[in-house]
Symmetry: C2
Subunit: 352 residues, 2 copies
DNA sequence: TCGTATTTCGTGTACGTTAACGCAATATAA
DNA sequence: TTATATTGCGTTAACGTACACGAAATACGA
């Protein structure tokens, strides 16, 4: 609409009767300017609503912004982390002109040692910002504290430590995610059908999800029976055994909610025993999960824009470091519901 | 990872034993260069995999790119178009540094005259690219033809003309969208429950959606009864009348599928007659629809990232005009499933 | 052959910002 | 007082590209 005249430091300098050098010093909060002229210049900057020209700024500056990324590597067990990494690479491509470089430090999902090793690794890079998946809570807590001490901006991705503040959190609301799943079951099953909630993980990390799941049913005054199982191993044989026993004890199970991306293992089991009458919902569109979503064994997958999480993680640090902008502390991803009818459009390939 | 040396036109000039001026002429395909040196320079550009520095390029160029936007204005009847407009404004904010300016030409949803007026309006602006919602097919067809003749890049948004090519289409796949709705009903209703498909519009524009809806049921071998009604007026009194008659004739209707964003009118009717046993699915998270989604009268809303559609429309033209990049001809939006449990996270504020 | 037109190319300035350099003016120490 | 630091500020050369201007080289006509 309005042809808005954009003033630069030259105009500011002219109005303040100083040189552009002085204006530059004020803008960059460098020293060598008397308080009097500093205030005068700041006032004019305010008046003109000066917006620095990022292009020219970047062109003249040779500053390099290094971002360290500390996340699990994609493993045979789950390729989930491929998606955020792709998003980060896409972001990096977009903003490499602005001197942003990314250093990936991948640790093993189950190895605390590798996590510690990669932290050391990261410190050596002398980065200006960090993206962290704080899976090993204790060590992560220490690491975040160190970053805070050094005023290193840090962005949590996928999960966060409630007792350790950071620049931003990018991920989803576990509780509401669980509630959504409860609603889907409630819509798709009869009122009295029994549901099995299965946490398949070497540690218990689904507390909030289960909480949300149950809270929805309570809110609705549902009398639906729900049983919970924790399966602490992720190999097929063990899981098969556990499920077999469960289905024997509870022949009336009509739905299974797997609280993470291992839902494909349950699906495989269902196929193996030839049962197609159980409604299955799980998390994340990994390759394996997609297989069973396509053939109808898995009915819904809940996703939280994994690729965009990575993209947004990088962009958040870019906005903070390069543009000096404020960033939101909590950036919740949508709760996306995927089926074999809409999964094909869920390839947020080019940004947005 | 790799510290990749980025060469500029200076390096190219040096290697070709010419001045940067000549290199510049070759890059911009201006005349005044002998074929021999042109080829030599092109070869070197190829070898070095020269990537122009967009920042410097923009800084040095005073070129302005004007984009004309020809879409319906948000009306009392539906505020749907607010969302794409917001997305466009967000995009404009992001790339204004690159000299992109946007001219909005809003026409009235039901007034062909206003559409023609706005076309005239647009021509006066001498834009370099156009975003079009081709609701008035005949006139739009002529307009797109004119744009093509003038080599004006044009991006369809929300719907497109199959017989008139353009640079890109941003919207969704109507057929698959209808299929998704059919699956949701199939999951949530009993196998024999009757569904009413309602098209509430002054013209018939849901052909592909209904087609997709029915094709899913056929593929599944479903024997579910489906009836269709076209309601050609959008005022509550008329719709109420139509629905009242339908529900009297078909007392066994368990689900209603409204093929556009007018689903809130049906929801209001259901509330007024106090029926809560009918499963309702419709389109778009408009303010009115959201009201009934929240209170549980509407069960699912299908959305197609309206805000992102606008954002992507602008970005597509930006990439084509400013960056000279190739763009995808069909850019399908995801088929998002919204409930009263996840709608609150569907504020795709920043990208995607 | 000379003169002119045309083609082909190099030079220079500008875009808005960064940051090094250096010169005054003032303060501090001797 | 003079010598030396320190503070406050202006000047200037980049950054990589766009484009106007004009110079050199070549072609063409007589």
């Amino acid at each position: 609409m309005g042809k808005q005249q954009n003033y630069g430091i030259k105009e500011i300098a002219k109005r303040a009767n100083v040189s552009i050098g002085t204006v530059d010093r004020v803008i960059h909060k460098r020293k060598g300017v008397s308080e009097k002229t500093r205030l005068k210049i700041l006032k004019i900057i305010e008046e003109l609503d000066y917006q620095p020209n990022v292009l020219a700024s970047r062109l003249a500056s040779k500053k390099i912004y290094r971002i360290g990324v500390l996340v699990p590597s994609a493993s045979k067990e789950t390729d989930f982390w491929n998606a955020p990494i792709n998003g980060m690479k896409r972001a990096a491509e977009e903003i490499k002109q602005y001197g942003v470089e990314i250093y990936y430090c991948f640790f093993q999902l189950h190895s605390r040692d590798s996590f510690l090793t990669q932290i050391d690794n990261l410190w050596k890079k002398e980065v200006h910002g960090v993206i962290l998946s704080p899976l090993f809570k204790e060590d992560a807590r220490q690491f975040v504290a160190d970053c805070n001490k050094q005023k290193l901006p840090l962005v949590y991705i996928d999960s966060y430590l409630e007792d350790q503040k950071a620049l931003s959190y990018i991920g989803f609301n576990l509780n509401d995610s669980g509630r959504q799943v409860a609603q889907l079951f409630d819509y798709c099953l009869d009122g009295k059908d029994k549901i099995l909630v299965a946490n398949i993980s070497w540690k218990i990390d689904d507390f909030h999800i289960e909480q949300g799941f149950r809270s929805y049913l309570i809110d609705k005054g549902s009398t639906r029976p729900v049983i919970k199982v924790d399966i602490r191993h992720t190999d097929y044989a063990y899981i098969k055994d556990s499920l077999q026993n469960l289905l024997k004890d509870h022949t009336d199970i009509k739905g299974i909610f797997v609280t993470n991306s291992r839902v494909n293992i349950v699906a495989k089991f269902m196929e193996d025993i030839g049962r197609k009458d159980i409604f299955i919902i799980g998390y994340d569109m990994t390759e394996e999960n997609l297989k069973y979503l396509k053939n109808g064994t898995i009915h819904f997958l809940i996703c939280h824009k994994p690729e965009f999480q990575g993209y947004q993680g990088i962009m958040t640090l870019y906005q903070y470091l390069v543009l000096g902008a404020d960033v939101k502390e909590m950036q919740y991803m949508p709760i996306d519901i995927l089926t074999n009818q809409n999964y094909q459009y869920y390839q947020m390939s080019n940004e947005l």
